[in-house]
Structure formats: structure tokens, C-alpha cells
Amino acid sequence: MLNKRSAYWLILPAVLVIGIFGAIPLLISLVYSFMSANPYGGVQAPMTFGAYVQMLYDQDFDGSLIFMPDYFWIAFRSLYLALATTILSLLVGFPVAWYIVCQSPTRRKILLTLVSLPFWINTLIRTYCWILILRDEGLANKLFGWLGFISHPLPLLYNQGSVLLGLVYTFLPFMVLPIYATLERLDPRLIEASYDLYANRYQLFRRVIWPLTKPGIAAGTVLVFAPALGSFLQPDLLGGGKQLLIGSLIEMQFTSSRNWPFGAALSMLVTFAVILSLAWQRWRSKRAARAQAA
């Protein structure tokens, strides 16, 4: 064991680097979100709530505010696509995690590698693959045409479905891995005991496995929900700019629209949502720990 002082010195570089270049920028962006836009990019005085007001209201020529729900719908769409991604990943990911846990140690290792490998492959390229499959001259339409299902190509790309597909495809490993991690620590004797007490497969799942896996599910939910909420590449490449999500809206404020305070305010909104989901996960895992202890 090292003494406490050397432990502090050892973690200091990491804390400094991530604090200065990760946490402080968040605070500066919070300040920026309360400033006025400079037409050349960047910000200027005075401090206002303008960027936040702009999320829901449009300013008329005479300065009065008119309710404009456009941005609200973008935020709403981002939220429900992120939730749909999370739910679909859970429905698909849980059985896979369970299947992996039931295998021999060697097969477990291979399957785990297969699930986690896509995580290390460029998201840009993984998303691009779906353009090759879904576009009008893409593989899916060719296959359907060849099988005689369709005479005209189906519009598979550039809709909400393709964005959702891309999101699930990207973030599925984030759901499988934490669920697997909790299932692996599950005591098999509990399962045997429930069988001995005449539980059927459904009861076993509902009363034993599900409650004990909740921390993993909560962790997976946050790990899928947070990046899906701020996703940029999937709506951009698979939504074709028609399905504007909050991530693309933020990006636009720093490239084409040049409204930095509004972009900063939108990022604060996303960050706030992520903090809320993290707090929810903490609360769930604490509650699960208490329930297990009791």
C-alpha cells in the first residue's frame, strides 16, 4: 500500500488534465450560454437568457416574443429516439447477455470479444455501412428487387427508422456488456434454489434474474441513452439532414448558423439530461444494493 500523500500525487496529473481540458470547458460553456452571439462566431456582452428563450420563442420585428415549437420538437424527437434506442437495445441485448453467461468460459470469452469489438471500430465507418445497405441502389433494395418483392426501390434511407437502426447498431454493445457483467456475478445457486421451489422459466426471470440484474440494466441504460441523446453522425448520415436531432442542431450553431450561445445552451440542456439519467442510475443501484442487503 502506498501512503495517502503519494496516492494524491499519482492521481494529480489525471485530475488536472481532465479537470482543465474536460470540466472547466463545461463551465466556460455554461457562461457562454448566457452571452450574446457575435455574428462572426464567438460571443460578446451583454449577459442574457436569450439563448434559452430562443429554444421556445422567436423574436418578432417589434421585439415581442412568439411561441415557436420547432426546437421543442427537435428536442422531443431526440428524446424519444434516445429512449426507443435504449428500449430496443435492452430487448435485444438482454437475451444475448444471458446466452453468453450460459456458455463455457472459452466460448464466453470469444462471444464477449465479438460483442465488444465493434465498440473499437470507427462509428463513422459503422454508420456508413448502413448507407451502402439502405440507399436506393443499396444491397437491401437490390435483394428485394431480385426476389421480386418490389418493382421500385423502397425509401429505406433518410427516415426516422434508419436513424433508429443506426443508433441501435452503434450503441447495442453498451447495453450487453454491463448486463453481462452483472449476470456473471449472479450466484447460480439462487437459480437452482428457485427451481427447487418450483419456479418456472418466467417466474425465474421475473422474480430472480431481473431484480438482481437491475444495476447492470441501469448502467446499460445510461451508457446507451446518454450518447444516443447527443448523437450526431447517425442522424446526419442516415437521416440525411431531414431528421434534425439535438446533436446536429448543436453542431450547426458552430458551423453554418454561427450562434455560439444557442449552441452552448443546447449542450447544457443535453448535459443536464445526462446528469439526470446518471442520478437516476445511482439511485437505482443504491436501492438495489439496499434491497439485496435486506
Binding site: 481532465i18 481540458f21 466556460i28 470479444t113 455501412c129 444491397l139 450526431f232 453542431e251 455560439w260
Partner: protein, 287 residues
């Protein structure tokens, strides 16, 4: 064989045996890998029109390799990747030692959450806050901006395998060294560091892959002349599906996958879970 058959008889419910789950998992694995296979196959297609197969060809790979812009972008990516890997791995080795060998100290949980922060904050937020930060302090030094931004999000990826490795080594060898009156520095150099090597290598490789794969943060932070490869490829993709995009994407795909596999193989079986599923490790760290 006999024993399993006999056990089945006594125990009609074998919870490890779930009909249908195997096929379902196979379908999910195909879902994860078939699109990548399709990309790789198309990249070897001789035809200019990507989806019309006319024959096997390496033509597009040579075209990509001879493209000056792509070569420059690749050079920037490798430079940023190597520098960010060196910085983040050095920081991560120290931090992993502090967290694993420092016992419980005040502020440990807060420091750990801070270090893990880049894993939870959505990339777009990190990207624009970094952009705002550099612009607000007037920090415009080209490649250096990219190296700093990449170092931040590479630290947790480099740290987790090292931490997992330290955890499996345990403190027994170090304690033995102390019993033999070895000084702390000598114990570190002769015992801890050599034992850490597989973890450090896995961490460094994963940090490099993370840096190489990053698009959004580089997209926001890079300036003219410091375009990284993914940012350049994104620009190509926006113009449409071309055989050149397929070829360069295949190259990036193979490099990332090969490096990640090497990292998994280096780390010992016990740590493979942590190295392979950094997300899982991060999740367990937060729970």
C-alpha cells in the same frame, strides 16, 4: 457424456440450456458484423458503381494510397494518435497506481468520477465545450489542440486495463519486496512495473485506437491543415458513396479491429473482460 445425460434426467430444468437464445444471439452477431463484411467486400469491387459487382480489384486501394490529401490526413491522425497515446498512457499509469494502490482516500470517488467523465458526457458536448474553451483562451496551436483534446478522452480508456491488471496482480509480490527491505522506488521498478506491462500495452493500444477513431471532437477542434483521417473521410462521404470511400473505410476498419484484438490478446484472461468491455468496467466503476 454419460454424466450430462444422467444429470438431465434428474434435473429436467437445465437453466443453462435455453432453446432459441442461440439462434437469436447468432442473428444479433450477424446484425453487428454483416454490414462490416459488406463494406469490405464492396471495397474490392472493380466497378465505379459501388453496388454493381464486376470483379475483384485493388484499384481503389492504390488510388487512395496515392491521394495526397488522404496521406496528409493519415499523417495528422497518426501523429495526434501517437502523441495523445504517450501523454494519456503516462497519466493513466500514475492514476491507476493511485487508485489501485493508494487504499481509500478522501475524494477518491470524486476523482474517479472526474477521470471517468469523458466516458459519459456525449461526444457532441465534449466537442463543442473543447472548441469554446480553446477559443475563449485564444489557444490555437494546430496539432497541439488536437493532442490535448484527444488526451482527455483517451485517459480513461488507457487507465481501465492498467487498473484491471494491477487488481489481478494483487499486492502479495510488493509486500514480499517490502518484507525484504526493498525501497518503494525499487519495488516499483523491479516488481510492479514489469508485472504491469501487459496492462500498459493494452491500455496504450486502446488509447491509440480511441484517438484514431475519433471523429466528432476532431471535426470541431481541427483547423485547416490539421484535418484528421476520419474528418477527411466524412467530407468524402457527404459527397456520396464512392469506391474510394469504401477503400479508405476498409483500411480504417481493419486497423482498428486488428489493434483492438491485439489489446484483448495481450491482457490476461482475467482482465480480458475489463479490457474487452471497457464500457462494462466503466459501468461497474460507476455502480
Amino acid at each position: 457424456m454419460m454424466t450430462t445425460a444422467a444429470r438431465r434426467k434428474i434435473r429436467p430444468f437445465d437453466w443453462r440450456h435455453n432453446p432459441g437464445f442461440g439462434i437469436f444471439s447468432l442473428a444479433v452477431m450477424s446484425f453487428l458484423y454483416l454490414p462490416l463484411v459488406i463494406l469490405v467486400v464492396y471495397s474490392f469491387n472493380a466497378n465505379r458503381f459501388v453496388t454493381v459487382w464486376t470483379g475483384f480489384s485493388l484499384h481503389w486501394f492504390t488510388r487512395v494510397a496515392n491521394n495526397g490529401d488522404i496521406r496528409h490526413a493519415a499523417w495528422v491522425s497518426v501523429l495526434v494518435g501517437v502523441l495523445a497515446t504517450i501523454c494519456s498512457t503516462a497519466i493513466a499509469i500514475a492514476a491507476a497506481l493511485g487508485f489501485e494502490r493508494g487504499g481509500r482516500f478522501k475524494g477518491e470517488a470524486a476523482a474517479n468520477s472526474l477521470v471517468m467523465m469523458p466516458l459519459v458526457v456525449p461526444e457532441i458536448v465534449t466537442a463543442i465545450t473543447t472548441l469554446i474553451f480553446f477559443s475563449s483562451i485564444g489557444f490555437h496551436f494546430g496539432v497541439l489542440n488536437l493532442v490535448l483534446a484527444h488526451t482527455v478522452f483517451c485517459v480513461p480508456f488507457a487507465m481501465l486495463p492498467i487498473q484491471a491488471r494491477l487488481n489481478t496482480i494483487g499486492t502479495a509480490y510488493e509486500d514480499a519486496g517490502r518484507d525484504l527491505y526493498g525501497g518503494e522506488w525499487r519495488i516499483f521498478m523491479r516488481i510492479t512495473l514489469p508485472l504491469m506491462v501487459p496492462g500498459i500495452m493494452a491500455g496504450a493500444i486502446l488509447a491509440f485506437v480511441t484517438s484514431l477513431d475519433d471523429f466528432l471532437i476532431s471535426f470541431m477542434v481541427s483547423s485547416a491543415g490539421t484535418t484528421t483521417l476520419p474528418v477527411y473521410v466524412y467530407g468524402m462521404m457527404r459527397l456520396g458513396v464512392t469506391p474510394e470511400v469504401n477503400a479508405i473505410s476498409t483500411i480504417l476498419l481493419v486497423i482498428s479491429a486488428a489493434l483492438a484484438l491485439v489489446a484483448f490478446l495481450i491482457s490476461r484472461p482475467n482482465e480480458a473482460g475489463a479490457a474487452a468491455g471497457t464500457a462494462a468496467a466503466a459501468a461497474t466503476a460507476t455502480t
